[in-house]
C-alpha cells in the first residue's frame, strides 16, 4: 500500500474561466513538478480534454481521473468521474444533449478551446460551458451512477454554486461518493463546523484554473495502486484503503 497525492479538481483551457496556460502539456508538467500522483480533469460540463491528458500523464507516471465538473439545473457544481472511455463518452453525450444552446462570447466569458499536445487549437466549443444543464441534482447523480461513475458535490464550503448556497442544506438521501471542500477550509475543520456531513468522506482539491494553483492543496489516498477502483475503495474506507487527512 502507498500514500498517493491527488488533486482531483483541475480545469483546462477548455473551461472559459481556465487560463490560456492550462494546456494538457502544461497541466501534466506542473502536476509532475508538484509531486502529484493522481490528477482529476474536471472542465465545466465537458470531458473533451480528458483523453489527451490521460495519455500525456501516463508517460509521466501520473494517473488521471477522467470526468467533468457538471452544473446541475439548480446550479450546483458536482464532480463526476468515470472508469473507462465508454462511460466517459456516454456522459459527454448526456452533457451535449442537456446543455442549453446558448453560444459563448469569448470576449466576455473566455475562450473554450481544445488543443493538441503541440498546443495547436483542434476544436472550439461554441456552447457556453458555464451554463446549467437541464437535469436536476438527483437526475444528474442517477445518470452518473448509472454509468458506474463517482459523484462528488464540489466546494461545499463556497458561497457560490455549492449545495449549501443553491439548495440550503444536504438533500434527503443524497447519494454522494464524497464531498469536496475547497482550499479555504480543511476537511477536519469543515467536519467540526458541519456535523451533518459526517457520513460522507471529504476530499480537498485545488479547483485550479491557473497552472500555479495545481496541487496547491490535495488529498492523500492510502491505496494499493493509482486506479479508479482503488480510489473508490478509499472513499468507501474499505479493505484498508482510506483518505489520509493532511
Amino acid at each position: 500500500m502507498r500514500f498517493l497525492r491527488a488533486d482531483l479538481h483541475i480545469h483546462t483551457v477548455l473551461s472559459p474561466c481556465g487560463d490560456l496556460d492550462m494546456s494538457p502539456v502544461n497541466i501534466v508538467s506542473e502536476a509532475a513538478l508538484m509531486g502529484l500522483n493522481i490528477i482529476g480533469i474536471t472542465d465545466h460540463n465537458t470531458t473533451r480534454h480528458c483523453e489527451l491528458i490521460n495519455r500525456l500523464a501516463a508517460e509521466k507516471g501520473i494517473f488521471v481521473m477522467q470526468g467533468a465538473e457538471v452544473t446541475t439545473k439548480e446550479e450546483v457544481h458536482c464532480l463526476a468521474f468515470f472508469e473507462n472511455t465508454d462511460a466517459l463518452k456516454k456522459f459527454q453525450v448526456f452533457l451535449d444533449i442537456n446543455l442549453p444552446d446558448i453560444i459563448n462570447d469569448p470576449e466576455k466569458f473566455g475562450y473554450q478551446v481544445q488543443v493538441d499536445e503541440d498546443e495547436n487549437i483542434v476544436y472550439e466549443e461554441k456552447k457556453l460551458l458555464i451554463n446549467a444543464i437541464s437535469k436536476s441534482f438527483e437526475e444528474t447523480e442517477a445518470f452518473i451512477h448509472g454509468l458506474n461513475g463517482l459523484f462528488i458535490p464540489a466546494h461545499i464550503n463556497r458561497s457560490k454554486n455549492s449545495i449549501y448556497s443553491q439548495l440550503g442544506f444536504l438533500p434527503d438521501n443524497m447519494k454522494a461518493d464524497a464531498i469536496e471542500v475547497s482550499r479555504t477550509t480543511t476537511p477536519e475543520q469543515f467536519a467540526v463546523d458541519h456535523p451533518e456531513i459526517k457520513e460522507f468522506p471529504l476530499i480537498r482539491c485545488s479547483d485550479a484554473h491557473y497552472t500555479g494553483d495545481i496541487g496547491a492543496v490535495f488529498t492523500v489516498f492510502y491505496i494499493n495502486e493509482p486506479s479508479f477502483a482503488e480510489i473508490r475503495l478509499a472513499l468507501k474506507g474499505e479493505n484498508g484503503r482510506k483518505i489520509i487527512l493532511e
Binding site: 436536476s136 438527483e138 448556497s165 443553491q166 439548495l167 440550503g168 442544506f169 438533500p171
Partner: protein, 112 residues
Amino acid sequence: MKITDIITALDLKVISGHNGLTNDITGGYVSDLLSDVMGNAKEGQIWITLQTHQNIIAVASLKDISAIIIVKGFVPEADTIEKSNIENIPVLSTELDTFNVTGRLFELLKKE
C-alpha cells in the same frame, strides 16, 4: 387572504399539498436561492420560485411558508410532490414568469 382566493384570481394549478389549501397568506416572497429564503422569508408568506427541488418543501416547512408558486410551467420532481403532501404545503403552478405572476399577486394583496 386565503390560498384558494389566490388560486382563483391568478388561475393557478394545484399540483400537491391539497390539505394546506385553507392556509392564510400574509404576504409574498420571491427568491430562487434557498439559503436566501431561509434567511429572509416570513411566516405565512407565499413563495414564488423557479426551483423545483425537494429542498423547497423543507425550506417552506422550516419558515412556515403557506404555499409555493412554481413559475413558467416548471414541473416539480416526484420527491418534491411527495414531501409537499406530507408537509401539507401546497405547491401551485403558473405558466407566467416570476415578474408577471408577482405583479399580479402584489396588486391582489394590495386590495386587502
